[in-house]
Symmetry: D2
Subunit: 360 residues, 4 copies
């Protein structure tokens, strides 16, 4: 029970269902004096707006963020920041047909097993709509990080099995799919359109990188930076794998290949992805999430209803073909929340540790 | 700061360095009346003992667990369980040569960046020795889970790039490498010996599965079961990727392939790995961790010392060739800790939720 | 940083300043299937409305609660419950004169010391307005407790040094001042009016009692029931002392007087106030809070401004003469939040502890 | 479940029963580079040793602290500090007679209600012996606080209803009873001896003060400094009331008396006890705890056994006549733990808040 708070010091607590009155949250623990306004948050929210690529629906959410507290004269005050996004354009009737069915790949079955009842409209709390609150909270984290010289970027490395190169990741936000490589966009468009017309859906791989992260963030042995990042990304709906640096490939390398040697000017390669022993090394942080295909497909599927009777289901309504690209700003927001929290957790050491004479 | 507690209700807090007087921990929140004795814990500790495969060193740790509190007349009392394992056979002098160097792939550099100083003997807190406390705590969690009909198994799916089949995973604990497939052992022995003689090291992939997990465990949206598992496994030193169910492969499947259909008797496949929407579905739980090669190798490596001078380093002393198989019981312990905590977090719902009439 | 969440399982996180757009909060961890509607919350909010006694201002807050999530078809769903109360009738200009002064007895000085800046309008986050969110969250906790047969009452035992008897505490909610004894009301009215006309303010003592609390709640040794209650009450602005049962008087009793003997039908007296060893005993829970006089008085006071210059201050505007009676429902709400959390923390033991044969 | 951790960043987790093998704990989150050795802790432990005043038993505990981790070359390393104190001189047989009885004023009844079973030997976990771990953890907190110029003192203000003046509180530690006023000692000795010979027991009042606490500590609105202090003190066995500053007396003062005016050189009185709005003001912190009489008395008492039969009980064995003076260092330790945690929680603001131009 009560898993809706993320972080220990910089904390985001969220609420909201797909078809209820609103989604939103509370950011607690943001230092005082940080510049923040609704436009900073709106900009990030707009990145997960549907309609920006062929992969997403035309539901026009028109999310408008409202800051309810914690900001005065344009600066954070150190008190909790209330965030509100009213829900709009809800067609609950689309879901009436399915209120007694367990949609394959969705959380209907498990929510009912857990709570005994659930808000079946649009997935309720299990809807991706919930991630709007994460993006809003993450936008505040990003303002704090920027203030400390830490910059995040996020981009799609793979869509439907087709890979992109990291050619211009810093420009990815301006492209459809957040592609770090303009040359793949046409290919991905084609793939998406094929799969859409077949009534099916696709997954992919997203990478988030962070530059300017100081060495020393992460709290061994259970709140290591990589552990927190893994939790943050795996907790986003649709994510089924998380990698840091070389990731799964590390399992197939020799120690002599995987170890990052050090020279006068620092590390000579970055297989570690910016963490050693669960603590940031000062190298760029590199984390990846593998995203499963959207479970809502138009093809006929076999399932059961709440009485256990077998049913053949064909889901109507508007659905994205892929969680990519809309999931990209969500994953970036989660990394931002982790880093903001870790900066604050390290503050005590930064301020109070007495370094022995002669140490770095 | 203070990341040495794992879990919210069933909580393990650990302490201890490789070359200090002891390692150990405190399990808090274990329900009362569970049978537990030192032999139950010792049995698990013995599984991570060195020397059971060619991959590990001959350091004879001879870990002996002592229960200091929380158990009376053979039963847990609901009060915290103190756990102590004295350190033995420490050759601190092996490490004197390296006290001013940052060993590549190790946490020396980042611990110093974080804390300003560190116990350089054998990696200090960053040593794999720390995981003995996890195994001890996990053994208690496993007793509680067994009491609830939940059984874990853990086995090696890949070593140095060579895969094993899941032929008899339930017998893996009796084999070298925790192999779920006897036929690979000889091949793996050969590989390990080759790499050992070349002075290098190897990684691999470990899977943990759990049967008997009831549907309903996991606390959306930030403490989902998969998020907690990802944190638990990624927080073990050497792990660089975590997957649930189909894992990374899900990114390349179509929705129609990846969705698990339901029939009268339940789910018809298990690509989800036992979670939907971050909540257990009642299917077997399947999680995998990719383990990097051990960073301590006998080959000459380039690094710098604490004064920033370039140094050529050749690590002496005894070192495992691979974290596998000794990491296998550690990963199992972490999954056990997650499940015990999630069971207790769900207890409030189990006990107090009022299910509407007519619901399951 | 980030102290705006109360509770471990049944958790209330709040936000909001006196003169911002809104106050509100998120209740996370309420079991599913509990009946709750806006009217249940509104009823509690109305109890802290100003104007119900001579002691409070005429500011007409007209607080209207809106439930934003977590309730579907009249039942809690187990997901977080978003709560919103828009602020109205704000006369920020009343505060312009004081924006550079530290009002004696208020938190202006300490908020500035902590955060470097603060929202000076009406005390900002330090305003008693913040407690509306507590009352709203506490109303949900009380619904859950009622469902479990636990009933709270709260009443004023002392106002301006004049004591009331516990004659009919269960009717206190229907009286001005929440008096448990009708005969004191006239006397208290007179006192309040005298002090009001002199421009000064008053404090008092409030008691909260709970009946139907099962034995076994409380988590030694740091989250004991009495420790959590003390934290809950002392954390309400204006509270300067907290007592359980005999309270301070216990320090002057002999052991033979203070020990509660047991007979066949249970405890024979209740000096303990319903807890032993930090765990509820099944006796009525009795906790008291001493409330300081409201710091905003109309008398001239000596203070300094933000530049350290001495200033003579005379506070204008409307102010309550005493935090009583408006604080009474707030203190009740806090006790409810503690008990809801403690019930859920004990759920794991209730469900999973195996009691040895022959035990109670 | 799992209430054995205190604090959010500077955290103490404890274990241990009166008659088990050991008590101890883990301090997590202490900044690195703080000088600490076993003698620093032993010194504090010795203050709660029995036998230093007529009020305590002759059980010679001879507690010896052992540091198991987290300190290297005399400095904390930032990693968890394991603490161990072996139990000695246990006469479990003293308790056999009472294993089926609920001792009045003790936690036997509630522990059994909660856990279904309990370690009846000497009160088990509910024994005051548990507080040795608190004193050890608090000693580390005090070293950190000293490093920051914060000094605590603790002394007895009242024993058996007889008050002491705050004449020389800084010398209290050198006197029997931690008396801040030498002139009361003889009177208290007499009282204690009278009550001892009658077979009864006594309570009293203890004050802890802290000087050098910077303004700005405390995390509104739920983790206010006073709320945390109240929790810390009320959670010590035998404490039934907690006061800050004027405490209960504030309820009887007028606002004009209770408000602390400010002048050029700071506050002109300290009724607030060093906190305003739950945040430290820079004035000396003053907190008091009312301590009930020890429940173990030699007089015959009425109780029931586990089968509900009425029994007349006369407790044999050695027992303190009063929790004072042995509770004094425990209460001081708890205040130290709160302050250490609050310093670290404020570190993020200290380090990262951007104060607007022209602000203090």
């Amino acid at each position: 029970m009560s898993g809706n708070t993320f972080g220990r010091i910089f904390r985001l607590t969220t609420f909201g269902e797909s078809h209820g009155p609103a989604v939103g949250g509370i950011v607690d623990g943001c230092p005082a004096g940080i510049q923040i306004c609704e436009a900073d948050i709106q900009k990030e929210l707009d990145k997960r707006k549907p309609g920006s690529s062929p992969a997403s629906t035309q539901r026009s959410e028109g999310d408008r963020i409202e800051i309810l507290s914690g900001v005065f004269d344009g600066l954070t005050t150190g008190t909790p920041i209330g965030l509100l996004i009213r829900n709009r354009d809800q067609r609950s009737t689309d879901y009436e047909q399915m209120k007694n069915l367990y949609r394959p790949g969705h959380a209907d079955f498990t929510y009912e097993a857990k709570y005994g009842l659930y808000d079946y409209r649009g997935g309720g709390r299990a809807s991706a709509r919930e991630t709007a609150s994460r993006v809003a909270g993450g936008a505040i984290a990003q303002q704090f990080l920027l203030d400390q010289g830490i910059r995040l970027s996020a981009y799609t490395l793979e869509l439907g099995g087709m890979e992109a190169e990291r050619i211009s990741p810093e420009k990815a936000e301006n492209t459809a799919y957040f592609a770090p490589d303009q040359s793949v966009v046409q290919m991905w468009d084609k793939k998406i359109n094929e799969v859409k017309s077949s009534g099916d859906s696709l997954g992919g791989v997203v990478e988030v990188s962070a530059r300017g992260v100081p060495a020393g963030l992460g709290e061994p042995v259970f709140d290591k930076l990589d552990a927190r990042l893994a939790s943050a990304l795996m907790g986003v709906g649709a994510v089924k794998a998380v990698e840091i640096g070389a990731g799964k490939e590390a399992a197939e390398l020799l120690g002599s290949q995987n170890n990052d040697p050090l020279g006068k000017s620092g590390f000579l390669q970055n297989r570690s992805g910016g963490t050693l022993g669960g603590i940031s090394s000062g190298q760029p942080l590199l984390v990846r999430a593998a995203v499963k295909p959207i479970p809502s497909i138009s093809l006929r599927q076999q399932t059961v209803d709440r009485q256990g009777r077998e049913v053949s289901l064909k889901i109507a309504g508007r659905h994205d073909v892929s969680a990519i690209p809309r999931i990209v700003p969500v994953l970036k927001a989660m990394v931002a929340l982790v880093l903001a929290d870790m900066l604050l957790l390290q503050a005590g050491n930064s301020l109070y540790s007495r370094r022995p004479p002669g140490s770095g």
